[in-house]
């Protein structure tokens, strides 16, 4: 019995029909079917945060969401943050602050920061630290990430 089903997903405002079974994660769909490679497959265990995406505006691990359960929900990846060719304020702040080192963790880090800023536009340092606490940067470049988010929130 073939168990893969057609699943309708709304990703970055566009409708996509993908094939997925119960073991297909959103990360599998994004990277392997749609070539949206911004979300990274770091640990595939929910530990590293490199695959973070927004699900109905909340940061979640794409590697821990069964794709079929995301039907009818609004999925935003790092590719969907820019508007009319302009980076989002958070993305621009990361660039301006020099918060990016090797870059692998950055899509997940930016998504965590976006979720924070959308929920709390004036977040302070402690809230910023908490928001990115689940994003591992093995360049250990956390200070400039915090500086970047502070430059957006004024925190």
């Amino acid at each position: 019995m073939a168990t893969a089903q057609l699943v309708d997903l709304t990703i970055n405002g566009e409708e996509h029909e993908v094939r997925a079974d119960g073991a297909t994660t959103l990360l599998d769909v994004l990277r392997d079917q749609l070539q949206l490679n911004g979300a990274k497959r770091g640990c595939n265990q929910g530990v590293c945060g490199a695959c973070n995406i927004l699900l109905d505006g909340q940061a979640v691990r794409a590697c821990l969401v069964v794709a079929g359960t995301a039907e009818g929900r609004e999925i935003t990846t790092i590719e969907g943050l820019e508007r009319d060719g302009e980076l989002s304020p958070v993305q621009q702040a990361f660039l301006d602050t020099g918060a990016v080192q090797c870059g692998f963790c950055m899509p997940g880090m930016v998504i965590s920061a976006e979720a924070l800023v959308q929920a709390n536009a004036t977040a302070g340092v402690e809230e910023i630290r908490e928001a990115i606490s689940g994003n591992l940067c093995r360049c250990s470049g956390y200070v400039k990430v915090i500086d970047a988010v502070r430059s957006v929130t004024g925190g």
């Binding site: 019995m1 073939a2 168990t3 893969a4 089903q5 997925a20 079974d21 119960g22 073991a23 994660t25 595939n44 265990q45 929910g46 945060g49 973070n52 699900l55 909340q58 940061a59 979640v60 691990r61 590697c63 821990l64 969401v65 069964v66 079929g68 359960t69 965590s112 979720a115 908490e130 928001a131 606490s133 689940g134």
Partner: protein, 286 residues
């Protein structure tokens, strides 16, 4: 081959599907289950997602002052709930320190308790809160106390095809308060040792009752009734608490692993108990 995905909208349908499918798993928030599937630790033939069952979501205060938390309520919602006050604050405390924000946005209390990991945060907190779990299976509904639910590493009282549908916390007395103290190597890690405390005071400001539960120190949350009884009627002075804490530490059976050696954890337990009891005693404002 492949893994079938079912998304029922009622508990009845979820339980019925579990009875029909071979080797099916209920999928709650997926924050452990999907990670285990990704690493091929488990390879179920079917998943029964509970995400579309609206009746399993949310927190409500019952007429008798008890609090019901639906099994599919996310950690993030519990962590922010203003309905969890007095003794119930332990559960909110615990939810706030589970893993990281993105995990808390999807992880659920029903999934967390069903996994039965004694190193997780909810088991000790829910035993200290004297919680009861509602369970539904092919043979109908039953209730089980948290203290009897957690039996061994990754082993609970759940039978095949049974599902936790909710958690009920008994009414907190007016003087009731709670606190969850977690000691971890790094923010978001599992606890090396955790301590959950609930207590109520008498009108004369003596201990009416106290529950002290240690997590991450054995196959199930550790509670020693004799040590708690010895504190009843007293003032929680340091010597009495230390004596109780030593008794509880003696009952712990911690693992020797990357989060701490057995000896280290045994040293931590009485210190963390003293800290948690003091924090509970002086807690105000919620």
């Amino acid at each position: 081959m492949g893994v079938a995905l079912h998304q029922p909208e009622t508990v009845e349908d979820a339980v019925r599907l579990a009875g029909q499918e071979v080797d099916a798993r209920f999928l709650a928030g997926g924050q452990t289950l999907v990670a285990m599937m990704n690493s091929e630790l488990i390879e179920p033939a079917a998943l029964i997602s509970l995400d579309r069952i609206a009746s399993l979501k949310g927190i409500r205060i019952n007429g008798d002052g008890s609090v019901h938390i639906g099994a599919m309520t996310r950690h993030a919602q519990i962590a922010e709930s203003k309905d969890l006050t007095g003794v119930h604050a332990i559960v909110r405390d615990a939810a706030q320190v589970i893993a990281h924000p993105a995990i808390r946005n999807l992880g659920t209390i029903g999934g967390a308790v069903s996994h039965g990991d004694p190193n997780a945060d909810f088991p000790a907190a829910l035993v200290a809160a004297d919680a009861t779990f509602q369970v539904r299976g092919g043979d109908g509904e039953r209730e089980i106390a948290a203290s009897a639910f957690f039996q061994d590493y990754l082993t609970t009282d759940l039978k095949d095809g049974e599902l936790v549908t909710g958690v009920t916390l008994p009414k907190s007395p007016d003087s009731g308060r709670g606190h969850y103290e977690k000691f971890a190597r790094a923010d978001g890690d599992y606890a090396t040792v955790s301590v959950a405390v609930a207590l109520a005071m008498t009108a004369a400001d003596k201990v009416d009752w106290i529950r002290i539960v240690v997590g991450a120190c054995g196959p199930a949350p550790v509670r020693v009734a004799e040590a708690e009884d010895a504190l009843a009627g007293g003032d929680l002075d340091a010597a009495a608490v230390a004596q109780a804490a030593d008794k509880i530490a003696a009952a712990c059976d911690p693992l020797d692993d990357v989060r701490g050696s057995t000896d280290y954890r045994r040293l931590l337990v009485p210190r963390l108990i003293a800290k948690a009891v003091a924090a509970t005693r002086t807690r105000t404002g919620d």
